[in-house]
């Protein structure tokens, strides 16, 4: 028998691993299938006609299902509504630091989408910039927003603050 007194155990490691079969839902599936074909599909709220992009199962403001026939295709250009420059690494985000996380209002949409900005110097990022989607090569398209790699600046004058301020 050894005389040494062993260290008490104060912390245990406990791995938890569960598997789920996640269901995207009807509305999101339409949206994702559109993306697979390079289409950006918004949906109209049947109550006020506003265009939701990305789509949701229902209009959260009115609690009604989105009109199925109200699916409309949006262009891949829009306006930078607000943003943040991220300098913190995160396990679930593979982007190189620093990167710019953005909220984009696509032309014709009435809600913003979250994405990231590329091909832009940090000091040039500002609210109201006009942006365009940079897509992955078509053969790599999946049912994912990730088909858009990032947004890039368009050589256009800024959108006026009044045109997007209600979306902040």
């Amino acid at each position: 028998m050894s005389e040494e007194v062993s260290e008490p155990i104060e912390v245990l490691r406990l791995p938890v691993e569960l598997e789920y079969q996640y269901t995207a839902g009807k509305s999101a599936s339409r949206f994702l299938r559109g993306l697979q074909q390079g289409k950006l599909l918004g949906q109209r709220c049947p109550v006020d006609g506003r265009v939701y992009f990305p789509t949701r199962g229902c209009c959260p403001q009115h609690g009604v299902p989105m009109a199925e026939e109200g699916s409309i295709e949006l262009p891949d250009v829009g306006t930078l509504v607000t943003y943040s420059i991220v300098r913190v690494p995160s396990a679930n985000i593979p982007l190189e630091l620093p990167y710019v996380t953005i909220q984009v209002l696509l032309d014709g949409a009435d809600t913003v989408m979250m994405h990231v900005l590329g091909e832009c110097e940090l000091e040039d990022v500002h609210m109201g910039m006009r942006l365009e989607a940079k897509w992955k090569p078509e053969e790599e398209w999946e049912t994912s927003v990730g088909n858009i790699l990032y947004f890039v600046p368009l050589d256009e004058p800024d959108a006026p603050y009044e045109s997007y301020k209600e979306h902040i």
Binding site: V16, L18, Y20, G25, K26, G57, C58, G63
Partner: protein, 335 residues
């Protein structure tokens, strides 16, 4: 105490696996139907309360999207319990008692088919000395069942009779998942799932949602010809440790039933939501129900068990949570 009643109720069908809709999409028509049937709008509702579980959904803050289905605009007075919807109903009842609300919307929803439900439930157990062994919910219930069988508290035939009764009753319920005519001998011939439990001893895993409207006094009478008045609603939680509890009875159900006044009058109908046949027998006994009571005319949890919604559903008698009937809620309703 104020008079409070259930004035409207709606539910989705209980299904083994809802393949088209996500949780919110299951909930939207349920809430929509509730409001339509009751002839009310969001502005009429003073308080909203929901019950759901992040681990069933496999994501944190799963309940937040429930607000989309409510259409919570203008902003609503709202709360959420990380529990079965029955406890959301309880919280709403409390808010009406204190005069904070006259009309309350309660909903529960769950889509446990996304995961391996019995295994997920292992995460409810003591995380230091029990959970690391990953005892699934069926195995835990089987340990309890064998205690009862060995002691002669119940027999396998008693348990099969419960399953046969509930499945036969469920034929009348278009929302139920498992229904039909079975014979006791026939299902006793089935192999064990986790010995000593057979498949018929376990409630099915169901996706679903339900919603209830609660109203106070005159408001209830305005909204509904025959409100179901809540005459008592009580809930009790036992320690979890299986070793220190008396697993051969449901003490928490007994205490809650006593406080809720179950025995103050004849009970015509009892809806019990125990997830296993032997547990349904324990709850029945804890409530002191006799032959004058029709048990689970809807088929009960054993016929369709939208795990977070079971509550908000019928003129509830009973809801449960935790391993081996750890926590129980009893509600006495009168027409």
């Amino acid at each position: 105490m104020r008079d409070v009643a259930v004035v409207a109720f709606s539910q989705s069908p209980s299904v083994r696996r809802e393949t088209d809709c996500n949780e919110v999409e299951i909930l939207i028509p349920v809430i929509h139907e509730l409001r339509t049937n009751a002839g009310i709008t969001n502005e009429d509702v003073d308080f909203v309360c929901s019950g759901s579980s992040d681990y069933l959904a496999g994501q944190s803050f799963a309940f937040v999207s429930g607000l989309d289905a409510v259409g919570a605009w203008p902003p609503v007075c709202e709360s959420h319990v990380e529990m079965d919807g029955a406890w959301a109903l309880y919280e709403a009842w409390v808010k009406i008692q204190m005069g904070y609300a006259e009309l309350a919307l309660v909903y529960g929803f769950g889509k446990p088919s996304m995961g391996d439900l019995p295994l997920t439930m292992a995460l409810q157990l003591d995380p230091y000395s029990v959970m690391p062994l990953w005892p699934d919910a069926v195995s835990i219930a089987a340990l309890q069942a064998r205690l009862l069988l060995d002691d002669g508290v119940v027999s396998e035939r008693d348990m099969a009779e419960v399953a046969v009764r509930d499945r036969a009753n469920a034929k009348q319920n278009p929302y139920a998942q498992v229904k039909g005519d079975f014979s006791v001998d026939q299902i006793l011939a089935d192999p064990y799932l986790v010995s000593p439990l057979r498949k018929h001893d376990c409630s099915p895993i169901s996706d679903g949602a339900s919603a209830i409207l609660l109203a106070a006094g005159d408001r209830a009478k305005d909204l509904c010809k025959r409100p179901a008045w809540i005459r008592g609603i009580e809930h009790i939680c036992e320690p979890q440790d299986l070793g220190v509890r008396d697993l051969k009875r449901s003490r928490s159900t007994e205490i809650a039933a006593e406080k809720a006044g179950v025995r103050a009058g004849k009970i015509d109908v009892a809806e019990l939501s125990a997830p296993f046949t032997h547990q349904e027998i324990l709850v029945e006994r804890a409530l002191g129900l006799g032959s004058e009571t029709s048990i689970n005319p809807s088929g009960g949890a054993l016929a369709g068990n939208p795990i977070m919604a079971v509550s908000a559903d019928r003129a509830v008698a009973h809801a449960t949570s935790g391993p081996c009937l750890q926590q129980n809620l009893i509600c006495v309703l009168e027409g």
